[in-house]
């Protein structure tokens, strides 16, 4: 099958890639563009490990065809930190030990970023509800929730 030329913007940078129409955004990010920060978990929309923002909306990149991203803005975990500084969410995940194996972490952080963009001061209940589509099988969720709430407090002050 011939490949399709797609022009998109990833983490603020204009990107061109070739893909097969059957390939997911997740596959292209990881296998073609080398952006392996986005993880593959279940590949059927249950676990949230592959969460990215598409035009600012939180989605599972395993359930987006790469061809659908033409002309769109994609944000991945690689776009969060600067060379000198982690994003407050990343910093707080470290401080609260909110990760163990780390596979779910980029998805949680992207989901939390989307939440805080919409709702800078979420309640614990709102954080738990928003993150229900992200699964973690190591730490349990309490540390993750505390990290997100703490990051929200830090970002509110900044």
């Amino acid at each position: 099958m011939p490949k399709v030329h797609v022009q998109t913007r990833i983490n603020g940078e204009e990107i061109d890639f070739l893909c097969e129409t059957r390939q997911s955004l997740l596959e292209i990010l990881r296998d073609e563009l080398g952006l392996t920060g986005t993880k593959e978990g279940c590949s059927n929309g249950n676990c949230g490990a592959c969460s990215v923002l598409l035009d600012g909306v939180l989605v599972d990149s395993c359930l987006v065809l790469a061809v659908e991203t033409a002309g769109k803005d994609v944000s991945t975990i690689e776009g969060l930190a600067t060379p000198s500084q982690l994003h407050p969410l990343q910093q707080k995940f470290l401080e609260h030990a909110a990760l163990q194996c780390g596979i779910c972490t980029p998805g949680f952080i992207m989901a939390a970023k989307a939440l805080l963009a919409k709702n800078p001061k979420p309640t614990e209940h709102e954080v738990r509800y928003w993150l229900a589509g992200n699964l973690c099988r190591c730490t349990g969720y309490d540390k993750i929730i505390r990290a997100v709430l703490d990051a929200a407090a830090v970002m509110e002050k900044a």
Binding site: M1, V4, E20, T21, R22, Q23, S24, S43, N44, G45, G48, S51, L54, V57, L58, V59, D60, C62, L63, V64, L65, V67, E68, A111, A114, L115, Y129, W130, L131, A132, G133, N134
Partner: protein, 296 residues
């Protein structure tokens, strides 16, 4: 995943002719949260995927108190409940739209897609039926419109013929003293498929006590979502009381044709139909009286 052609149709006519030419070898892509999973798991094989999200008609989201709600078939759930005016006008719809999958799914999944996937357990369908929603369908013969309760024909099947696809859903504006509520039973708090779902909507008379119209629809207790006319009829023209609500619940239970499967037994489902019919009616009555009932 299998290989397929992908075309992002720009107009309704283009989508219709693409779909008509490929028959059952083509399928519409909106949010993809069902279709992409089905393709990846080999449950569906296609030659052509027609992305309809570039067609203006399927992205319409408009509401006013005269014409009611027009909900384009590809509008994702988050856009609907993110619209404060619409969320306030239709809390009984939002009950269901806010619990279709988690945040990531709601960023993509459309209500129209939930209907076209035609699962007997789909959360949005009973509440659409209760709200008297109609389907606007485009096809080779032009447009047609039919009530949502006539759309599904069997698990995973619906009335869409060759070349046809769902363009939008249309709902009347809620009148004075209208209230609606959707509830489902699942064995956990979030993120599961309904064991039973019930959508109820009713209108109260000027006295705030007599029911002048009522519609009750059930999910996951038959091969398709069911509108139970007898349950609504048990309420209409009567003052609200525990006895009339119990009669409506009994009528809903009588209409249910549940099966036993991994999610629950037929007996449990029939029991749940009674409980949820009662609770959704109580919620709908509270909303009809202007009280706030939270979604969760």
């Amino acid at each position: 995943m299998q290989a397929f052609d992908y075309i992002a149709a720009q107009t309704l006519d283009e989508a219709v002719s693409l779909l008509a030419a490929k028959g059952d070898q083509a399928r519409v892509l909106a949010g993809g949260t069902d279709l992409i999973v089905q393709l990846r798991e080999g449950r569906r094989r296609l030659e052509l995927v027609v992305d309809v999200k570039k067609i203006p008609d399927v992205n319409v989201l408009s509401y006013d108190t005269r014409n009611g709600l027009t909900l384009g078939a590809a509008v994702p759930c988050h856009r609907v409940y993110g619209d404060v005016t619409i969320a306030r006008a239709y809390p009984g719809l939002m009950d269901a739209f806010t619990l279709v999958g988690g945040t990531q799914i709601q960023g993509r999944a459309s209500v129209g897609g939930n209907l076209c996937n035609s699962s007997p357990a789909a959360d949005t369908i009973p509440t659409l039926i209760a709200h008297q929603a109609t389907c606007v369908i485009a096809g080779p013969g032009g447009r047609r419109e039919l009530p949502v309760e006539q759309f599904c024909t069997a698990p995973g099947r619906n009335v869409l013929g060759n070349g046809e696809f769902l363009v939008a859903l249309r709902l009347p504006a809620p009148g004075p003293r209208f209230g609606a509520r959707y509830l489902r039973f699942i064995p956990r708090n979030e993120m599961d498929i309904a064991v039973v779902g019930v959508g109820s909507a009713l209108t109260l008379g000027d006295d705030g006590a007599t029911v002048t119209a009522a519609r009750i629809a059930l999910g996951a207790v038959a091969p398709t979502p069911l509108l139970v006319n007898e349950a609504g009829a048990a309420l209409v023209g009567k003052p609200i009381s525990d006895a009339t609500i119990a009669q409506a619940a009994a009528a809903a239970q009588a209409a249910a044709r549940p099966i036993s499967d991994m999610r629950g037994t037929a007996d449990q489902r029939r029991h749940l139909v009674g409980v949820l019919t009662r609770r959704t009616l109580q919620g709908a009555i509270a909303r009809a009286r202007g009280e706030t009932v939270s979604h969760a």
